[in-house]
């Protein structure tokens, strides 16, 4: 009887700990809601295969290269990403042209899945997600040959 009570106590303590952790923070799918403006496109890591000098190069990506990398992607020319609670995302460019896709989060909320663009599914790694900043990584083998880091700042809370 005493052992049962001890086990029950530990169980309640552990579950209480987990639930209080989750209750004191927003879920990533809630944090994402709202409008995000693109701040920068950078190389997170450069491919060092071409030599050591590569590392001394600037990590920022030019506008032309950015267009080339994102040519086949849903996020092509998108400057503002608006996440809606119904699972829709609006990607708006500088010229005001917008495309609507669907979004969902995978894993523990660290993988952003975008789908609905020409039957393709794209996955982006959410590296950092706070109330005001979002950092997304994705791999590309097109010229850039490295991990691309996109940084966003929140401009409008949903």
């Amino acid at each position: 009887m005493k052992v049962t009570l001890i086990y029950l106590g530990i169980f309640i303590l552990l579950m209480g700990g987990v639930f209080s952790l989750m209750a004191n923070d927003q879920s990533p799918s809630e944090k994402l809601l709202g409008d995000w403006e693109e701040v920068s496109w950078e190389y997170e890591k450069l491919d060092a295969a071409q030599g050591e000098e590569e590392w001394t190069l600037s990590k920022s990506i030019t506008q032309q290269l950015k267009q080339e990398i994102s040519q086949e992607l849903a996020i092509h020319k998108a400057e503002t990403w608006s996440f809606f609670p119904d699972g829709k995302i609006s990607l708006e460019g500088k010229n005001g042209k917008a495309s609507t896709l669907s979004w969902t989060l995978k894993g523990r909320g660290h993988v952003l899945k975008l789908f609905g663009h020409a039957d393709s599914v794209e996955h982006y790694q959410i590296q950092k997600l706070t109330d005001d900043t979002m950092e997304i990584h994705f791999n590309t083998d097109l010229q850039a040959r490295g991990i691309i880091k996109m940084t966003f700042k929140k401009i409008n809370h949903s």
Partner: protein, 266 residues
């Protein structure tokens, strides 16, 4: 495969148990990565992720990962609790019930994905948790009944053990040690099966999608079905033995009588 406990188990029993369950664990792990982007049969990585999320101050994600680890823990706890409480009275059931529980968990996940899955984060978190619980049950069961010789989802320890074993086999005295050779055979069988299960799941998923879960359940049914068959056969044979013995003895008695009569007539 299941009904023999700890020290009464043979090397063959452990290899069969390890290979079949590791194959299903490999399948479950790869499928969960493909569908949910989360591992479900190895917990070491989750500890690292938990530490990372705590360090970043992502308390929600830390809570999610902590609950996944706890569910794996409860899986092992449940499996062993059933075994230690019912092993003496209902040996077969004590070992079959955890596998049945695992099948139920995987069936729930498979059916839910097939009919209701909306790809929301909460669904993903719950389904991954259920799969981790199932894998905890399987690991707890195999480790418990094989005296920790078989751990089908613990590939870190297994690879370490294999490294150590192969270094020992450089010396003749260890190469000739039957126990060590047996251990290496089990570990190799588990490693190969786990990998094959993963590759098979990846390939099969391309053709049949979420139905992979039903195939895993089929494998687990083979595990309990095989054991049930073996148990029934052995029970049938032991029940038949006294009858056969009586028949044999009475036959011998009849032959002796006949021989005696023949001798008297002669």
């Amino acid at each position: 495969m299941l009904s023999k406990y700890s020290n009464s188990r043979t090397l063959g029993d452990n290899i069969k148990l390890g290979a079949l369950t590791a194959f299903s664990a490999g399948m479950v792990n790869v499928i969960s990565v493909i569908i949910f982007f989360a591992f479900t049969s190895n917990v070491t990585g989750h500890y690292a992720v938990l530490a990372e999320e705590i360090a970043k101050g992502n308390w929600y994600q830390a809570g999610v990962v902590a609950s996944w680890i706890l569910l794996f823990f409860f899986g092992g706890f449940t499996a062993n609790l059933i075994i230690i409480n019912f092993n003496k009275t209902y040996t077969y059931l004590a070992h079959a019930v955890p596998i049945i529980l695992e099948i139920i968990c995987l069936l729930i996940v498979g059916s839910y994905i097939q009919f209701y899955y909306q790809e929301t984060l909460v669904e993903t978190e719950i389904l991954v948790g259920l799969m981790l619980f199932a894998m905890g049950i399987q690991n707890g069961l195999t480790a418990s009944i094989s005296n920790s010789a078989v751990k089908t989802t613990h590939l870190t320890g297994l690879t370490t053990d294999l490294g150590m074993l192969f270094s020992m086999f450089t010396k003749k005295e260890y190469r000739e040690n039957k126990a060590l050779r047996g251990k290496a055979k089990i570990q190799m069988a588990i490693m190969t099966s786990y990998l094959s299960g993963g590759v098979a799941a990846g390939l099969v998923y391309l053709n049949i999608g979420y139905n992979v879960f039903y195939i895993v359940c089929l494998f687990l049914l083979v595990v309990i079905g095989y054991d049930f068959y073996k148990l029934k056969v052995s029970m049938y044979m032991s029940a038949r033995q006294p009858f056969l013995r009586i028949q044999y003895l009475s036959g011998m008695h009849r032959n002796r009588k006949r021989k005696r009569k023949d001798l008297q007539n002669a």
